[in-house]
Symmetry: C2
Subunit: 323 residues, 2 copies
């Protein structure tokens, strides 16, 4: 099933969305919002699935989704933990900023704890700030967890993955070198992250979701032009199962925690990029300098993933950069 959140208060109001993304039914009688549903998933999930089946069974049920203003599925979340599971991205971006990849690149996942109190919706504009920070997008796949005990193993991880969705992990590239140089990780270089309209249960992905990876291309368009469609599956070096085992090593995670893949990236340059930093890195390697500028006011970023039948699984993140 597909879930979404209508703009309402701090947490949105829960909606069930038809598979084709055209219609929705209110579900706040089951749980007022998605966080509440995740808090009580064993009770809520079957009721939400019945609502989804009713929506699928009769095209007259529900209301047009176009009439509804959506927020992020979780407009505020208790944690947003972002991995960096695509080795090609790490190698390119570190090369571009003259930093060495970590020695444990292939054995120890890179993750950072992101801000999660104010998350952006799929159509929220993004304020560029002073314009000198080097704004970039990062197109990603993410999962929403249920309660996850400390010490969960990769082989048990699937039990704790409730939903999948897409993310745009907005990044201020020019703030990264100084910030990471201080040694405590990202903070001001990572403004609020944006999420796709729909969060979907794993079964919606069918065989494309296997081994803790989502084996479909992730398409990113900048001002209407496709800049990348790398596959989010095979080259995800650490699966979501392995990322989850890593992040639950020393503490439990609460229901509603969002765990991201990091920028989706393929070694084949023909697959393009999911962030401008990679494009600039490739340009630097080829010509000695980056040619593509970072984002400017008015730029439009669109991120979506289509299944083999051509259906837009998560809806489209479509955001404009504003002053």
């Amino acid at each position: 099933m597909k879930l979404a959140s209508r703009r309402h208060g701090r947490d949105g109001a829960l909606l069930v969305v038809s598979r084709d993304g055209s219609r929705c039914s209110a579900a706040h009688d089951v749980a007022p919002n998605l966080q509440a549903a995740l808090d009580d998933w064993a009770r809520c999930e079957p009721q939400l699935r019945r609502r989804f089946e009713e929506l699928e069974a009769d095209p007259r049920v529900g209301q047009p989704l176009s009439e509804v203003e959506l927020t992020a599925p979780l407009p505020r979340a208790y944690e947003w933990i972002d991995g960096s599971a695509f080795i090609n991205h790490i190698l390119l971006v570190r090369r571009a900023r003259g930093a060495e990849p970590p020695a444990t690149l292939y054995s120890d996942p890179l993750v950072y704890q992101g801000g999660s109190g104010c998350l952006l919706g799929p159509n929220d504009s993004f304020s560029i700030g002073d314009g000198q920070h080097g704004l970039d997008f990062e197109s990603e796949v993410a999962v929403v967890l249920g309660d996850t005990p400390r010490g969960t193993t990769a082989s048990d991880a699937a039990l704790h993955i409730r939903l999948l969705l897409l993310a745009n992990d907005w990044t201020f590239r020019n703030l990264i070198p100084a910030e990471l140089g201080k040694g405590f990780g990202f903070f001001v270089s990572k403004p609020a992250t944006a999420f796709s309209p729909f969060a979907v249960t794993p079964d919606e992905l069918g065989a494309a979701y296997r081994d803790g990876r989502l084996h479909l291309p992730l398409k990113t368009r900048l001002n209407g032009v496709l800049v990348g469609d790398p596959n989010a599956g095979a080259e995800m070096h650490f699966s979501f199962f392995e990322l989850l085992a890593h992040v639950s090593q020393t503490r439990a995670l609460t229901a509603g925690t969002i765990l991201g893949s990091g920028t989706v990236s393929n070694a084949d340059p023909a697959r393009g990029v999911s962030c401008l930093a990679e494009l600039r890195a490739r340009e630097m390697i080829a010509t000695g300098q980056p040619l593509t500028p970072f984002l400017s006011i008015g730029d439009q970023v669109e991120i979506a993933m289509f299944d083999d039948a051509g259906s837009n699984v998560f809806g489209t993140i479509s955001e404009r950069v504003v002053p």
Copy 2:
């Protein structure tokens, strides 16, 4: 006024606590839990203050606090952001692990984004895990924020500080070098953080809270023996106002965000320590090697702050290390 949370569901049930910490009144009719009160502070604060005044006016009002099991004031929070505002701590700890302090030590605050989905209560035991991780405490002061817009200045910061409390930022020292070496900051080296029984409004501190700093000694006892009572005020190089301006530079923060001072530390060795890493660093400087071991099963850590009248302002964090 003083607020606390009785163990109840995921978010606790809101209590108002008498100034002497002996009695409490339920306040779930005002707001079911502290997060809900912070979400609607303008409405809730006056009602909670009236409840506090009733409690103070008549010693027969309320019930003994000893009858109630407390959780952290916010058992799950939308963000836990921890600064490292005591320069003496940074210098000692980095020296101990052979790392250079950042070049911008005095001008650019060090902060990290901590996990906030599962926070520990003041009397929760702490599981040491495999015992090889070098468990340490870090005694800190923290503030709870109201909604804080992106770009808030230090001079406006006071408007967004709702409550103060104490924290024990549990740390696995032996996991830090490899983790920080990867460049993305702390994750597995920072398990769940514990908080004091009470969160109090700034006016409870009187003149001790000024210039965004809490000018009182923070006492830490290990197995009943005082290991430190450094003052949390004058040597806090970046005030909470400056930390807040730093962390809101590129994104807004939601109500209920917790912002910590970092380990309270004074340059005068007679003031002792708020973490074992500092003690070991001093030993290493004096003798060439650390002598004090990290924590073991059975160790008891107590953290409290007393005002000039001898009152235990936040109650005592008292936690035992268990297998």
